[in-house]
Structures are given as C-alpha cells and as structure tokens.
Symmetry: D2
Subunit: 284 residues, 4 copies
C-alpha cells in the first residue's frame, strides 16, 4: 500500500543540503529510493530530484509541506512534491508534418509516455483523422496575419478548459506570441530540425545541405520568446555524406526529430528537467 513521490528541490548551494533534506524526509517517513543532485559551480545553485517512498498509505502533502518548509527554512528552498505516477495533461500542436505526432501517439498508446493527450491543436486539418482514430479532441485553429490575436485567445481558452499541464510543439510551424512564451515558460517543448545553435530559423535542412555538414542533428528545447534560443533539453545526430539531397536529409531528420522530441517529453513527464538560466539540468 506504499506510494511513490517525486520531490524536486532548488536552492542556493551550500554545505549540508543533502543531509538536511534527507534526514527531514526520514522524519516524515519518506525514504529516498533514488536521488540525484547537482551544484552549478558558476551560479552557486543546487538542484535535487529524489524518488521517495511513503511507507504509510497516502501522504498528506499539505501537512508534509509545512513541516518540510519549517525544518529546511534556512536552505531557502524552491520545491515541489507530486505522486510519481501522476499523468500530466498535454496539448500537442502540429502543422503539416505528422511524423512527430504519430510517434508521440504510438508511445502514449503503448505506455512508454505516461501522459494524457487532452487535445490536438492544428492550423491545418490534415491530422484530424489521426485525432479521431485515437479518440482525442481535435481543434482546427487556422492562423493568418489578421486573426493571430483571436486565435491565441481561443487556444488559451482550450488550454484552460482542459486543464493542460504542458504543451508539445510537434513540428508546429507557427510562432507563439511573446506573452504566450512567457506565461508558459518551462512548459512548452519544441522540436527544432537542426543541431542548434546551427541553422536557426526556417528550412534548416536546406541550410545544412548548402553548408555541406557531415552530421545532421535535431534539438528539443523549451520555448522562450527568443526564437530557437530556449534551453536545450536533448539533441540527436546522424552521419550524412555529400550524396544526400535536401529531401534525403529531411527524411533522415524526421527520425531524429521523433526520437529527440519523445525523449525530451519523457524527461519532462518524469520531472527530471530543471531550467538553469539558459541551460537545463537533467537527471537521467
């Protein structure tokens, strides 16, 4: 009848944090099954993620929280605790290319990605059929120069109604507004089809072809208001040669995109990622 929790902690680095945190957990009958921590030597910030087991039924998180805060007051923690089996609600955004969407849906169906896909949102109708097949609400929200603001309002309403935890841009080719990027910072994952910071912006495969690179890449990152500049979560690469056409690069790239995005989403769901200024700390 015991239950598992994920604890996340972030605070100014100093001596004795692990000892203090772990002994406080013990006092609350929470025991560390698995933990990882990292102290950034530059900005002196400490990050910790722990998988805990509570030996006595269900944890009263509010009561625990008060005790934890009091005991660790001197550490100035930012922290959170959540059931390890919590399935977040996600909205997948897609445009014309469906390979990342397909791949995500397969991983959700087969239990690899423990999340609820609450809806699929697209500026095109191409992938409505996939949504139907999976019995997921599909929202067609076309976007053009005139309706951008209105579209965003509609989108936000959906996210609110469906109680969305985080957004996945699965080759969604529209740029979100600054305000949207800020409000959801750390909760929007995008897949960029190049090895960032190389080839930002449009048509990265054509850029890569033109440059004659010998290795192709894809990058999953959190979206910031700076286009293609948000904190990198994961990257993948594949060797290519001179004989590859832009079309070949695109096809090779699709596999990189699908795998890299899926991996980033998995880290996010399992609450393994901390944003550390413009970078990420990932405990895997």
């Amino acid at each position: 009848m015991s239950k598992e929790y994920i604890l996340r902690v972030q605070c100014p680095d100093r001596y004795g944090i692990v000892a203090k945190v772990s002994s406080t957990l013990n006092k609350s009958n929470l025991f560390i099954l698995d933990s990882a921590h990292y102290g950034d030597p530059e900005n002196k910030t400490f990050f910790m993620r722990a998988k805990l087991i509570y030996s006595k039924n269900i944890l009263n998180t509010e009561k625990f929280g008060k005790f934890f805060e009091r005991e660790c007051k001197s550490l100035k923690l930012e922290w959170s605790i959540k059931e390890a089996d919590y399935r977040p609600n996600t909205a997948i955004f897609v445009s014309k290319y469906g390979h990342c969407l397909q791949d995500l849906m397969y991983r959700v169906d087969s239990g690899i990605l423990p999340m609820n896909v609450s809806c699929i949102i697209s500026n095109h109708k191409d992938h409505e059929k996939i949504a139907k097949w999976h019995d997921i609400p599909f929202f067609h929200i076309p976007i053009n120069k005139k309706n951008k603001e209105k579209s965003e309002i509609a989108t936000r309403q959906i996210l609110k109604d469906l109680n969305i935890d985080f957004l996945i841009l699965a080759r969604y080719m529209q740029i979100l507004s600054d305000k949207m990027c800020k409000d959801f910072y750390g909760r929007i994952i995008n897949i960029h089809h190049s090895f960032l910071p190389s080839f930002k912006g449009a048509k990265p495969y054509h850029q890569a072809y033109k440059k004659g690179v010998k290795i192709l890449g894809a990058t999953a990152h959190y979206v910031s208001s700076d286009l293609d500049e948000g904190p990198i979560i994961d990257q993948s690469v594949e060797r290519v040669d001179h004989a590859k056409t832009p079309r070949d690069l695109e096809l090779i790239g699709r596999d990189l995109e699908s795998i890299t995005l899926a991996r980033a989403v998995k880290y996010h769901i399992e609450r393994r990622i901390f944003i550390n200024n413009s970078k990420t700390v990932i405990f895997n």
Copy 2:
C-alpha cells in the same frame, strides 16, 4: 585549506541509508559535494559514491572511520575513504601492439589520467624505447610454455616492490593464471578488441570480418579467471561496411580500443566503479 575525499559505500539495500550516511558525515564536518547511489533491485544491494569536502584541514581517517562504523553499524557497510587527489600506482602490460600504451602515456603526461605509471611490463622488447622516453622502468619478462610460473613470480615481485595499486593490460596477449586473476580481482583492467560478448577469444577482427557485422566494437572489462568474461566497464562502437578488409577493421578498432581503455582507466582512478557480481555499477 580544505581537502576533498572520495567515499565509497556498499551495503544491503534498505530505507534511510542516504539520510543516515549523510548526517553522519555532517557530524564529522564532511560535506557532500557530489554523490550518486544505486540500489540493485535484483540482489538488493546499495552502492554509493560521494565526493566530500572536509572544512578543517586534514581528516584523521582512522578516527573518522571508528566514528563512521559505530554510527552506521546497523547498515552493515563495506566502505572506504581516500583523498580525491590520490594518484594510484599502475603497471601497464603490453605485447606487440603499442597504440593503447602510447595513448595512455599521452593522457598521463597531459594530466588527463592522474596516475603514476610505475612500470611497463612486456613479453617483448618492442616498446622499451617508449618507456625510456618517458623515464619509466621497463621489465622484459618473456613468456613461454616452460617459464610461465617463474615469470609470474617475477612479475608479482615487481608489483609488490613498486607498491602497484592496479594493472592495465594494454593489448597484452598473454593469459594470466587463475590465481593471479583472483588475487587481483577488480584491479586488472583489460581491453578486448571486440564488442563482447561477441567474438571472444583470438582474432576478433577476423571473426567480425567473417561474420560481416556492420558495427565494430571494443570492450574494457575487469579480468576474471573466465577468459573475456569479467565485468564490462565500457564499450565503444563504430559503423563499418562490406568494403573494409580485416586490416581496415583492425585500424578502426585501434582507435576504439585506445579510447575505451582510457575511459575505463579514468573511471577506475576516480573510484567510480563498483563490481556488482558479474556486472559493474559506474557513477559518472
């Protein structure tokens, strides 16, 4: 004036180990800078490695040891503590192929591998020149069917005289005696020129060529009395195609061997490796 230490702990897995160990350390003014742990779910064994800082000059390890043992008695620890900057003494064994030896020596000279190469031992004279260039004692111990026992006695005497901590078999083509393997278990690292468990035994590149594999590998492992079966430390691979000759595979393999062996040696020096029955746990 503070000094860093590496603590290694292994014990039967149970709740509360991290809390007990870390608070005991704190009481001794030892603070965790970096730590990693792992509980094997199959054999219920807990492993932990921590980098500690002692804030008060130099630690009296004997005194600390008594205190640590007493406080953590219930945990039934196997443990050790050592200065983080301890440079172990190693003996490098080599036969005809010198690429791993060359590579190791370069990494030692440039500070990448913090160890003392106390001697080079070979059944051939080919690499005496390298030893001289690096000002390292070279022992030529030829081995044939008749002198095997005598050679081992000579070898052991050298290891004892030079106070050797661990042995590196850098493409050493002689098989050590069972007794030698047992006495130095966990302290002999070998590089095998294939992706184990594929292609055990002699001429792995020829075996790989004959089999027509599309990826080539190398494996660094601890030596056990079972040939090529000791716990794997690290592996590397490289893509190959049908046009590669056995000679090509050998040349590609050399790079894999050098890099894989160097990485395994680095993990060992930094005390990151635990032997977990027939496998390894590596905190990196």
Copy 3:
C-alpha cells in the same frame, strides 16, 4: 519522357568489367547516372549496381537483355534490370509487439518506403485494427504445435495469390520452416532485438541485462534456416548504463528495432543489397 532503371550485376571478378558493362549500356542508349561496385578479394566475386537512364521512352527489356548477354558473354554475369520506381509487394508478419509494424506503415504512408503492403499476417488478432485503419488485408493464422504445417500451406497460398515479392518479419515470434527459409532466401528480412552475434535466441534484452553490457543493439538480417545467423543487413546501437531495467532496455530497443528494420527494408526495396555468401554487400 526518359525512364530510370536499376541494373544489378554479379560475376567472377576480373579486369575490365566496368568498361565492358558501361560501354555495352551506352550502345543500348542506357546511361549510368549513379553506380557502385565492389570486388570481394577473398572469393573473387564482383558486384555492381547502377542507376541508368534510358533516353528513348520505354526500354524493351527483353531485347536489351539478349543484346547485353551476347555482348558480355565472357563475363559470366548474373544480372537483372528493373524500373527504378518499381514498387514491390510485401507481406508484413507480426506477433504481439506492434511498434515495427506501426513504424513501417507510417513510412509507407508518408512515401519514405515505396512499397505496397499487400497484407499483414499475424498469429494473433491484436493488430487487426491497424490493418483496417490502413485498408490492408489482415490474415489471422494462429500457430501451435499441431497446425504448423497447415498454417504454412495457408501462408504460402496467400503469398502466391497476392504476388508477394518479399516478406518482412516485424517482431514475428514464430520460427519459419527450413523449406520456407530456403524457398524465400534473400527475400525475408527479420529484425532481431540484439547486436548479433551477441544474444541469439530468446529474450535478448534479458540476456543483455544479465551480462551488463554498456551498449544495446538491434540487427536486421536476411532469414536463413540457421536461426539468427542469416546475412546481416544493418545494425544500430545505443549507450545504456547499470541503472536500466530489462523493461528500460526493451523500450530503448524498440526504437533501435524500428529504425534498423526500416533502413534494411529501404535498402532492399532500392535493390542495394547483394548476398555475398554469409555476408551482405550494400551500396548506399
């Protein structure tokens, strides 16, 4: 109005083959767009694949064949020519695990794999829904100790009726009969979920876990009557560590399997693979 063809040639190696073949092609108004060849130095066999363009409408392959044979008689060629855009008919075999099937279907739908999936054959009913969604005939052919022979007869009838060019075993867990393996030699591609020749047979992920390997693999190969011993087409690998459970290895392995199988199928469709005794020659 010009049309492209793929020419495949295999013959005893000797001087002057390229010159003879290419000038004979020119005389037939067939021009080499792209070609690759390889002479195996061990068994003195020459392999060549060329992409040709015929400048005058559609090639009379019969007439060309007679001319080609006559001109190149001294070379003792085995050869074939086919339209470059020929879409072969395939039957996909699957059991319980559907990830490779899903992945293949997505690549067919999106134009990456130019083949006709003429049917899906399974010893289970789990994936009938996928077949329906894609409008592909699904045959449920259960297999047990008693009905093995009868099932094979039924299977062969389907393959004959649908004019199947080659078979894909997409995690199909039944062993084909010797006769089947021989009759379709070079036309059945299997995905084995390990880095062959390591971990043949059942439960390779459990074998890999037990051995403690640091790199996981998957292997696509032609099926021979020797289980898991047929000529290797492609392999992929991914780094893993001690903390991965057999379940983790399985999930990581699924991506390797899907990608490796898809790549092997693509090579086969594009007629890039030659079987060279127990190995493959692949021009990519």
Copy 4:
C-alpha cells in the same frame, strides 16, 4: 610487377562519362579496381575517383596523359593521375596543444597515415622535444603583430625548400594571411574544436558550455580566407551533460579533434576528397 594508380576526374556532368573514361583506360591497359563517382544535381558537375592497376610494369604517365586527353577531349576533364603509394610531404603546424600532433605522429609511425612529415612548425617551443624524438626538423617561428609578414615569408621558404604537398594545422592558433589561404587552397587542413557552423571563432568549448549543448563536436575542414568557413571534410560528436565543466568538455573534445583530424588527413592522402564549391565530395 603490376602497379596501382589513383585517377581523379572532374568535369561538366553529361551522359556516358563512365563508359568513355573506363573504356579509354582499358585501351591503355589500365583497369579499374575500385571506383566511385558523383554528379552534383545542382551545379551539374561530375566527380570520379578510380583506383587502377597497370598490368605492364610502370606507366608512362606523360604518354598516357596525351592519349587520355585526346580521347576524352569532348568531356572537358580536369584530371590527375598518381601512384597509389605516393607519400605526400606534409608540414604540421602546432601551437600549445600537442594532442593532435602526438596522435598524427603515432599514426604515421605505425603506418596508418602514409605520409612524410617533412617538418613541424610552431610559434612556440613546447613541442620541439617531440620533433627531436621523431627525428623531424622543427622550426620555431614566433608570431606577433610586428613580424607577421616576415614570419610568413620564412614559413613559405621552408615549405618551398622541403617541397611540401599539404599543410596540417593541428591546433595551430594563428590566423594565416588571405594570400596564404588562397595560394594553398585545398591543401591546408584545419581542425576546429566545435561542431561547425556552431561556435565559430575563439573558445568554442566555453561557447558550448554557455549554450548548454547536449552533444559536443569537432570539425576538420579546408582552410579558406573566411575564418572557420572552409569546406567541411569530417565531423565527430560525443554526448555530454549539464555536469561537464568547460575543462571536461575540452578533454572530451581533444579525442574528437584527434580522431577527426586524422580521418580528414587520411582522406586527403588517399586523394578521396574533391572540393565542390563550398562543400566537399568524399569517396570513402
């Protein structure tokens, strides 16, 4: 008594080139052992490299050249032919970091890189000892703002006196003059310690650290007068994580640099590389 040659051909792409070239070779008793070609679909340029065997002692290249030119006149070839075992003369340039130099020297000594290291040139004295150990002339040419021109004149004189075929910049931290880059275009190989086009210019490891990339890279390229923009020859990558310091990245990067540079040099020596405007075509 037969001898092997490497033929390189570049010309406007059209039908029938392979047939014309190979049959002309046959007429000269030169037979293709191995060949590769590529037609760039964008700029309609054809590239071909062939390994030939001459069955009759030693080829009179002058006589062959006249015949070849006459026969293939319509193809407008740029071409060259050279003994396959020709060992080019190279000058290795190095500054403070010696790992690439060490690695190259080891590969030369062990026969992996068939070239003559005619001299080592450095703006520092650090690596004079290595040059002496290998019995290679060492030239110390210090460079500062005032003596740049004079230093280049001295350098050029050395290159001329020693009949140098190509230059290797093995972590040479000085920027060559525009004129030097142009005069030796296609004959200077540089190793840049990042995955170009990411992180051009100084301190790429610090840039990579700051950006928080998850994969580190190195790039070997021909030097052009545009800094770090010359045609890419080869690239290598390695996965890294948040815990790596700039120093860690540097050490990981060194292995990437050594291997990538060695591979690029090998391609160059074996005459496998064609410059195709701002890119390379490599037949390997």
